[in-house]
C-alpha cells in the first residue's frame, strides 16, 4: 500500500563544486541538455527514493526504481487490463491451491560479485518477508506463505498454509517477489535502505543526488530483455503542476498530471506530446466517525449520506475529469459494484434529521488534507450540508497531522474526529481495499470506527476464496455493509493523466503507473 505520503528522507549527496556566482549571467538561448541523443529518458517521480529494500519499501517512488534495478518473479503486463507475465521466472504454475511451482531463468547475474540468481535466493527472499526478525511492513503480501521448497538450482515450489487469492494479483508481480541473494543482504547487515548491496535488474544506479536526481544506467550483465534507453533520469517533483510546467518546458519526457488538468490536456495536448487518461485504482471517500457523540444515531449519518451531492463534489473538485465511484473497488477488479445504494436526496436527508430530532441542524467539522482538490471538494460538501441545516467547519491539515488524526497511538484527536475526506491508493486485488476497514483496524486505519464482525469475517474469507465469481459477491456484500452502516460516502476513484513526449512509447500498468524499464523509443 500506498497511501501517498509526501516525500521525506534524504541521504548522501555529492558535494558540489563551489561554482562562483558573482552575478546573473544572461546566457542566451535554451539548452536542451541531455535528451537530444534520445537515449536518455527523463521522468518525474512524486518523491525521492527512501528505501529500496523489498521488505521496507515506502511507496511508488521506491517501486519505480526497484522495478528497474531488481528482478522479481513476475511483473505486471503493460496495457489496459490487469494481467501478469513471468520475469525472473521462466515459468510459474499453480499446482494446487497451496502449491506454486516456479523455474528461474538461468544466467541472471547479481552485481558486485554475488553470482547467479538461484532458487535458494528465492527461498531466502520470500521467507525473509515473513520472518518476524525482518519486521517487514509487507508481511501481509505473503500472509499464507509456509515455506519455499528448493527443487534444483533454478526451480522450486512455494508452499502456502492455505489458499491465498491475492498471490497472483498483488504479490507475485510486485516488489514483494523480488529475489536477492542471502549473502548480499547479510553483508548489508540484514537490511538496507537507499544503497542496495547488489542489483540484478535491467538497470543499475549510476548516481544519486538526493532530492535532485537519480540516474539509472543500463545493466550490461542483464540479458533477458533489451531496454531501449541508455539512461533513465528520475527527478523527484512533488508538485504536479510544477511537473506539468517542467514537461511543457521540455525538461521531462514523461510525467503524470494532476487530475484537474486532465480536461485541459485532453482538449489541448502540448506540442510534441501525447496525453492519455487512465483509470485509477485509488479511492476517495468521506468518512463519518460513528463513535463521535453527534453521529452515534445512524439516522444522522444517513442524513449526511443523502445530503451530499457526490456528483457535484467530484465535478467541482476535479473540474469534470473524474467520475463518482460506487465503493472502494474500481471498475475492472473483482468485486466492483455497478451501483451504490444511496443517491442524492435532500428531502430524505431532512426527514432523517427530523426523526433524529435535529431538524434545527448542528455544527460539525470536516478534516481534509491540504490540497487544492480536497479543498474544493470540502467546500461543496459544506454547501450541500448547509442545505439541510448542518454547518460544516473545514479543517485543512498538513500531511503530518492528517495521517495521524484517527490513530489511537498518535494522541487523542481520534476522539474528536468527525467528518473526514480521505484517499487510499491500492494494488489490483480487492483485499487491499477492504483490509483497512475491519474491526481490528479500528483506531489504526479504520478511522470511521466502522465495526462490523460480518465485514471482518468476509475479508478473511475473501483472502482464501479462489473462485472469482464467489469472491466478487463477497466484496460487493462488504461494500454494501459499509454503505449501510451510514459511515461512508463514496466519492471517486479519481483518474490518472499521463503526459509523454511523442519521442517515447511508455509502458504503463492499467492504472497508469509506469514500468520504466520497459519504456521504448518511438
Amino acid at each position: 500500500m500506498t497511501i501517498k505520503f509526501t516525500d521525506r528522507g534524504i541521504t548522501r549527496r555529492r558535494l558540489l563544486q563551489g561554482a562562483a556566482i558573482a552575478g546573473i549571467a544572461a546566457a542566451a538561448g535554451p539548452k536542451y541538455s541531455l535528451a537530444a541523443g534520445g537515449s536518455v529518458l527523463r521522468v518525474r517521480s512524486y518523491a525521492d527514493i527512501q528505501n529500496l529494500d523489498p521488505a521496507h519499501r515506502t511507496g511508488q517512488p521506491d517501486g519505480d526504481v526497484m522495478n528497474c534495478i531488481f528482478a522479481s518473479l513476475a511483473v505486471y503486463k503493460a496495457g489496459d487490463t490487469w494481467s501478469w507475465q513471468p520475469f525472473a521466472a521462466k515459468s510459474i504454475k499453480q499446482l494446487d491451491p497451496t502449491h506454486v511451482a516456479f523455474e528461474l531463468h538461468p544466467g541472471i547475474m547479481y552485481s558486485d560479485g554475488f553470482g547467479e540468481m538461484t532458487a535458494d535466493d528465492a527461498k531466502f527472499s520470500f521467507e525473509r518477508m515473513i520472518d518476524p526478525k525482518t519486521k517487514s511492513e509487507y508481511v501481509d503480501d505473503w500472509a499464507q506463505l509456509d515455506h519455499v521448497e528448493v527443487k534444483d538450482k533454478y526451480s522450486g515450489v512455494i508452499v502456502l498454509k492455505q489458499a491465498f487469492a491475492p498471490l497472483w494479483n498483488s504479490t507475485l508481480p510486485t516488489d514483494s517477489a523480488i529475489i536477492l541473494p542471502q549473502k548480499a543482504i547479510e553483508a548489508a547487515g540484514g537490511k538496507f535502505d537507499t544503497k542496495p548491496p547488489c542489483t540484478s535488474g535491467p538497470y543499475r544506479i549510476k548516481s544519486w543526488e538526493p532530492k535532485t536526481k537519480l540516474v539509472l544506467e543500463r545493466n550490461p550483465d542483464w540479458k533477458l530483455t533489451k531496454p531501449d534507453f541508455d539512461e533513465i533520469h528520475v527527478m523527484p517533483i512533488e508538485d504536479e503542476k510544477t511537473a506539468e510546467l517542467g514537461f511543457e518546458g521540455g525538461e521531462l519526457d514523461y510525467t503524470w498530471t494532476s487530475v484537474s488538468s486532465i480536461p485541459r490536456y485532453l482538449k489541448n495536448p502540448p506540442a510534441g506530446a501525447k496525453f492519455v487518461r487512465k483509470p485509477s485504482l485509488a479511492y476517495v471517500w468521506m468518512g463519518i466517525n460513528q463513535d463521535f457523540p453527534q453521529f452515534k444515531d445512524i439516522r444522522v449519518r444517513q442524513a449526511i449520506q443523502y445530503a451530499v451531492d457526490r456528483k457535484a463534489v467530484v465535478e467541482a473538485a476535479y473540474l469534470g475529469a473524474a467520475e463518482t465511484s460506487t465503493g472502494l473497488i474500481a471498475p475492472g477488479l473483482p468485486g466492483h459494484r455497478t451501483k451504490g445504494l444511496i443517491s442524492h436526496d435532500v428531502a430524505k436527508a431532512k426527514k432523517l434529521l427530523k426523526e433524529a430530532g435535529l431538524e434545527n441542524g448542528f455544527t460539525c467539522t470536516l478534516a481534509i488534507l491540504n490540497k487544492a482538490e480536497r479543498l474544493a471538494a470540502a467546500q461543496v460538501v459544506q454547501a450541500n450540508l448547509a442545505e439541510v441545516g448542518i454547518t460544516v467547519q473545514i479543517e485543512p491539515h498538513d500531511s503530518g497531522t492528517f495521517w495521524s488524526l484517527g490513530s489511537e497511538k498518535a494522541g487523542s484527536s481520534w476522539k474528536t474526529l468527525q467528518l473526514i475526506i480521505d484517499r487510499f491508493s491500492m494494488e489490483p486485488d480487492p483485499s487491499w481495499a477492504t483490509a483497512w476497514f475491519t474491526p481490528e483496524q479500528i483506531g489504526v486505519w479504520n478511522w470511521e470506527r466502522f465495526n462490523s464482525k460480518e465485514f471482518g469475517d468476509l475479508h478473511k474469507k475473501g483472502l482464501t476464496e479462489l473462485d472469482p465469481a464467489k469472491r466478487a459477491t463477497m466484496y460487493v456484500k462488504m461494500q454494501n455493509l459499509m454503505e449501510e452502516s451510514g459511515d461512508y460516502v463514496f466519492l471517486t476513484h479519481e483518474a490518472t493523466g499521463v503526459l509523454y513526449s511523442n519521442k517515447i512509447v511508455p509502458a504503463l500498468r492499467p492504472d497508469g503507473i509506469p514500468l520504466l524499464s520497459r519504456f521504448k523509443k518511438a
Binding site: K241, E244, S260, S261, R264, A312, E315, A316, L319, N370, A372, L375, A376, A378, Q379, V380, Q382, A383, Q393, I394, E395, P396, H397, D398, G400, T401
Partner: protein, 297 residues
C-alpha cells in the same frame, strides 16, 4: 523589511513652510495617491455588503473560471464564486487583521522596548536576547508550527505577524529610550522622586512613539503579504472565508485554467501596499521636524 524606516520625499525639505500637515500630505502627488488608495480600500471594506451583487461564498461550479464581465467584474474562481465579492469581503479581513496585528505588535514591542531601555542592565540583555531570537526564527517555520498547533485561523496569522514584527519595534523603542534616559529632563524628574512608570509613560513614550507609529503604518501591508504567503503554504484562514491570500492561493492552483483569480487576489494587495506606504511616508515627511524645514509643532 521593517525596522529601517525608509525615508522618501527628501523633496519635502525644500518645500515652503507654513502649510498644514494635511494639506502637505495631499499636496504631494504620491501622498495624495496613498491617501486615495487607502480610502478606496477602507470604503470597499465598509460597504462590501452594499457594493457586491453576489455572495462571496455561494458556489456555482457551472460558472467556474468566467472571465471578467458586467455581472462578475473580476470573473469567477474554481467554484464559480464571484471574485469581485470575494475581494471586497476579503478587504475586511485584510484590513482588520493588518490593523489589529500591527497594533498588537506595536503595543507589545514598544512596551518591551521601553522596559529594556529603561530597566536594569541584566533585564536589557535578557530582553535583547529574546528580541534577536524571535527575529532570527524563520518566519515560514514559525507559521508552520503555529498552524499545525492551532489549525488555520486568523489568530494564527495575527500571532505570526506579531512575532515577526514586534521585535523590530522593540529594538527601535529600546534604542530611543536609551538615548533619552540620560536626557536632562528625565534626570530632573528622577531627582524629584518620580517613579519609573511615570517617567516612562509621561516623558519617554510621547517622545518616541511618533516615528514608530509611522514605521508601523508602512508595515501594515506587509501583514497582507504574510497572510498571502501563509495561504500559499496552506496555512491561511479557514475556507471558505474570502481572504486575499486564499484568493491568490486558489488562483495559483488553477492558474493554467484561468489567469483572473491570481490577478484579482494580487491587485488589491498592490493597491493597499501603495496606499499605506505612500500615506505613511507623507505622514512622516509632514510630521518629522528634521524634514519639514525646521517647523516645530
Amino acid at each position: 523589511m521593517s525596522d529601517t524606516a525608509s525615508s522618501a520625499s527628501g523633496a519635502a525639505a525644500y518645500r515652503p513652510r507654513g502649510r498644514g500637515p494635511l494639506r502637505r500630505i495631499l499636496g504631494e502627488p504620491l501622498g495624495g495617491l496613498g491617501a486615495g488608495l487607502v480610502a478606496l480600500a477602507v470604503l470597499g471594506a465598509i460597504f462590501a455588503g452594499v457594493i457586491a451583487v453576489h455572495d462571496p461564498i455561494t458556489i456555482a461550479p457551472i460558472d467556474r473560471f468566467l472571465a471578467p464581465s458586467g455581472d462578475h467584474p473580476f470573473g469567477t474562481d474554481n467554484l464559480g464564486r464571484d471574485l469581485f465579492a470575494r475581494v471586497l469581503f476579503g478587504s475586511r479581513i485584510a484590513l482588520s487583521v493588518s490593523l489589529g496585528a500591527t497594533f498588537l505588535s506595536l503595543l507589545l514591542g514598544v512596551s518591551a522596548g521601553l522596559v529594556a531601555g529603561y530597566g536594569p542592565r541584566w533585564l536589557d540583555n535578557g530582553l535583547l536576547l529574546v528580541f534577536d531570537a524571535l527575529k532570527s526564527f524563520p518566519t515560514v517555520m514559525l507559521a508552520l508550527f503555529l498552524v499545525t498547533l492551532t489549525g488555520p485561523s486568523l489568530q494564527a496569522v495575527v500571532l505570526v505577524v506579531i512575532i515577526a514584527n514586534a521585535p523590530s519595534y522593540a529594538r527601535m523603542a529600546r534604542t530611543q529610550t536609551m538615548s533619552l534616559r540620560h536626557a536632562e529632563f528625565v534626570l530632573a524628574e528622577q531627582s524629584l522622586g518620580a517613579g519609573a512608570v511615570r517617567i516612562i509613560s509621561t516623558h519617554i513614550l510621547p517622545n518616541i512613539i511618533g516615528p514608530l507609529l509611522i514605521v508601523a503604518s508602512m508595515d501594515i501591508p506587509v501583514v497582507v503579504a504574510i497572510e498571502a504567503g501563509m495561504s500559499f503554504l496552506g496555512l491561511g484562514v479557514r475556507p471558505p472565508t474570502p481572504s486575499w491570500g486564499s484568493i491568490l492561493n486558489d488562483g495559483f492552483s488553477y492558474i493554467r485554467e484561468s489567469p483572473w483569480p491570481v490577478l484579482a487576489g494580487g491587485l488589491p494587495i498592490i493597491v493597499t501596499t501603495l496606499g499605506f506606504t505612500f500615506l505613511g511616508e507623507a505622514l512622516r515627511d509632514a510630521f518629522d521636524p528634521k524634514r519639514s524645514g525646521g517647523e516645530k509643532r
